[in-house]
Amino acid sequence: MLSSFKGRLVATAFGAALAAAALAQPAQAAEKVVVCALTFVSSSPLFIAADKGYYAEEGLEAEFKFFRAAQPVAVGIASGDCDFGVTAFTGGFFNLAGKGALKVIGAQSREEPGFDFVGFLASNQAYEAGLKSVEDLPGHSFGMTQVGSSFHYNIGLMADKFGWPDDAVALKPLQSVPNMIGAIKSGQVDSIALPAHIVAGLTGSGSAKLIGWVHDYTPWQLGGLFTSAKNVSERRPVVEAFVRAYQHAARDYHEAFNKLENGKRVFGSEAEALVPIIEKYTKAKPDAIYAGSPFIDPDGRLKVDQIYQQVAWMKKKGLVDESVDPKSFLDLSFISGHYGVPAN
Amino acid sequence: MDLIVEGVSHRYGEVQALDDINLRVADGETLALIGPSGCGKSTLLSIMGGILAPSEGRVAAEGAAPDGCLNPFTYIFQDFALLPWRTVAGNVGLPLEHHRFDGDGRARRIAEALSLTGLGEFADAYPKQLSGGMRQRVGIARAIAVRPALLLLDEPLSALDAQTRELLMEDLIRIWARERTTSVYVTHNLNEAVRLADRVAVLSRRPGRIKEIVSVPVPLDERTERRHADLIETIREQLWRLIVDEAKDADRELESVA
């Protein structure tokens, strides 16, 4: 009895000494930041930075919070639960950003020629009946997650490019990707748009037919890296440090996954080295990671004009409030060299 | 029509409610059934009207039913049993609706029953608008509308206050004087029994047996006359003596059960 009590006392004293030593460490304590994201391959730079210690190098201690949909990430930033987030741009995102809570500071992935990212699928029945290409979509139904989602904008981009009238494609909000997959398999919708790794699975099993990739028709800045307006104004050095770590990881990713040789993608040993990291966070199989790895700008530079274009389209459709001005939620001062920055 | 009860016994599980009841109710006669609580008088009434099958014995009718009789054994209920969503006329007409009538036969019967019970001007009223006495008049009108051979009254006045009870007794006497319907009248109220019945059957407590049958040898319409007061009072006293001890027992038993 007594000896065990003594032992515990010793242990406690030892623990206290350790804690004191930790406190006495002269180096400035790591700044805690909460990083919110979806476990998608397009969020890879966040994971690479964590795994390779780029946050620590910048004096940051990153804690991840994972979400199942893009919207909560943006809400988390607005409510102060998250410091940094990476998701696709949606109507909800722009509306929230337009209320002044969010600042977009860098790029996530984008549609770039040669890099299959989001593809259009036709149901087998619709394909048999003549829906063989994106140009055939008018007169068919299109399943998507939600109104104002990136999938909604995908079809909007096509409608703008080909000049389809407003109600040419019947939109069917289905709330989730599994619902979309179920609906295309059973033929309850004629078409959907999905990321490349899911497209590969569905076409491989013969459940649906690929009728075109978004990048074949139009470029698009799909998503961004964003933080709260409060962080930008009150913790600027922390934001700068985070951006540096993100860029570092984005360059690693770009080197590994975004090489083209004769218009074909090639993956070298760098990719092999990164796949286990991405696999750890996304729980995706290596094949799916290769198939679904999008184009990510090595420096996190945004195609700014495309964001303006998306906001304008969403305003036209009534999905984004008239008062929303991209100028007010874009902060281009953290990364240099953004593309297509408007003159004024 | 005569009603004959032969060797009727009834058991509820272990409890013997009625034991070997033999009775004959003559045509046009009113028989009152009295007795302490739990003597089985309501059970006997249900058996007489054919809505309860006795464990032993049988009930028979002898003689023809009156002309136009639609429901030979007809009850008048203590709680009136009126449909609150039907008007007075609708309630009286209810038991006529599944019978065929020529021309306006049904409407005439309803009007006749209403006028006999003094309800003519209330034909379109709903039960909730009526006093207790008027509601039971609707119950009576409904019963006589079917021209019953036997009227079975189950404590018809016990839900009413004393004055109303007096008024309704007068009504019943007037109606019987006209219709001459054979009636069995269950009550625990001795005044009602001596006012309305030609004979009073006194039942004993569990098991219910017929203890005595007392005749009231005064015509119904003369019973309130002063010259019969002593005789009526004597009969009332006699009935009370017949049930008083058992009524006390019944009272105590209820308390011990509670």
Binding site: Q71, A74, G91, L174, G182 | -
Partner: protein, 267 residues
């Protein structure tokens, strides 16, 4: 005051009045007005940021905007159609089953365990199945509401029939009324108050399930409108949709009150 001061007369203080709450119409309107003005004032003073809760004025503007461009009519039309079909079919089926369970002991023995087992299942959880069975078109939306309405209607109809006073049924039997007439003239009218009370519950459930029903594949409808406003973070439109739903609820409850007054005027 004390009793017994010799020769002094005092009036007896009134202590009655009972404990009978009576609705005061002006009070409910006043409460609405006070809450809404307090909300508006808080929004205007900046105590309530528009990001978290839009002001009543903004909500009114959002309502006015969809009313002006005609989408309100399309949303209302789509939703009312679904509610009308789902509620009517669910109510008809529920009444048939519930009344049967009230009347026939076989139906009761079969029905009670089945209903008890199925009633508590959240109908929203069945949505994927309903979509497999009925597709993403109108039938699955109507079926969602239908299922939600069916079970409470069964239970209210069953207990309403069960609660019809036994003495009335005995009365009908004592007059040799045929079985069908006893059901039609005594049991059904007697169950009416309980059935109508059930309508209030089932109509509210239909409104609640509208949002769930319009989750999948609905372009128009108040539920779809609320969902898409939520997805787009258009909180003013979201609350405008909620206001529409509650106004629809008030309207339906007023209609039912009228129906009750008509059908149950004997009460």
């Amino acid at each position: 005051m004390s009793i017994g001061d010799s020769g002094k007369e005092t009036s007896v203080r009134f202590r009655g009045g009972g404990f009978a709450p009576r609705p005061k119409r002006w009070a409910s309107w006043l409460a609405f007005a006070v809450i809404i003005s307090a909300w508006q004032i808080a929004s205007m003073s900046g105590a309530l940021p528009a990001l978290f809760l839009p002001s009543p004025y903004e909500i009114a503007l959002a309502l006015q905007a969809i009313a002006a461009d005609g989408t309100l009519a399309r949303h209302l039309g789509a939703s009312l159609g679904r509610i009308a079909w789902g509620w009517s079919l669910g109510t008809l089926a529920g009444l048939a089953v519930g009344i049967s369970m009230g009347i026939w002991s076989l139906a009761r023995s079969v029905g009670i365990p089945i209903v008890s087992a199925l009633f508590p299942i959240p109908k929203i959880a069945l949505l994927p199945l309903l979509i497999l069975w009925f597709g993403i078109g109108e039938p699955s939306k109507v079926a969602t509401i239908l299922l939600g309405v069916f079970f409470p209607t069964v239970i209210s109809a069953y207990s309403a029939v069960d609660n019809v006073p036994r003495n009335l049924i005995r009365m009908g039997q004592s007059f040799d009324m045929p079985y069908a007439q006893i059901v039609r003239k005594i049991v059904l009218p007697g169950a009416m108050p309980g059935i109508l009370a059930g309508f209030r519950i089932s109509s509210s459930i239909a409104l609640i399930l509208l949002v769930a029903a319009e989750m999948i594949g609905a372009e128009f409808g108040i539920g779809a409108f609320i969902l898409s406003a939520g997805n787009l973070m258009q909180t003013d439109q979201l609350l405008a949709g909620v206001v529409l739903l509650s106004m629809l609820g008030l309207l339906i409850s007023a209609l039912l009150a009228r129906l009750e007054r008509r059908v149950l005027k004997w009460r």
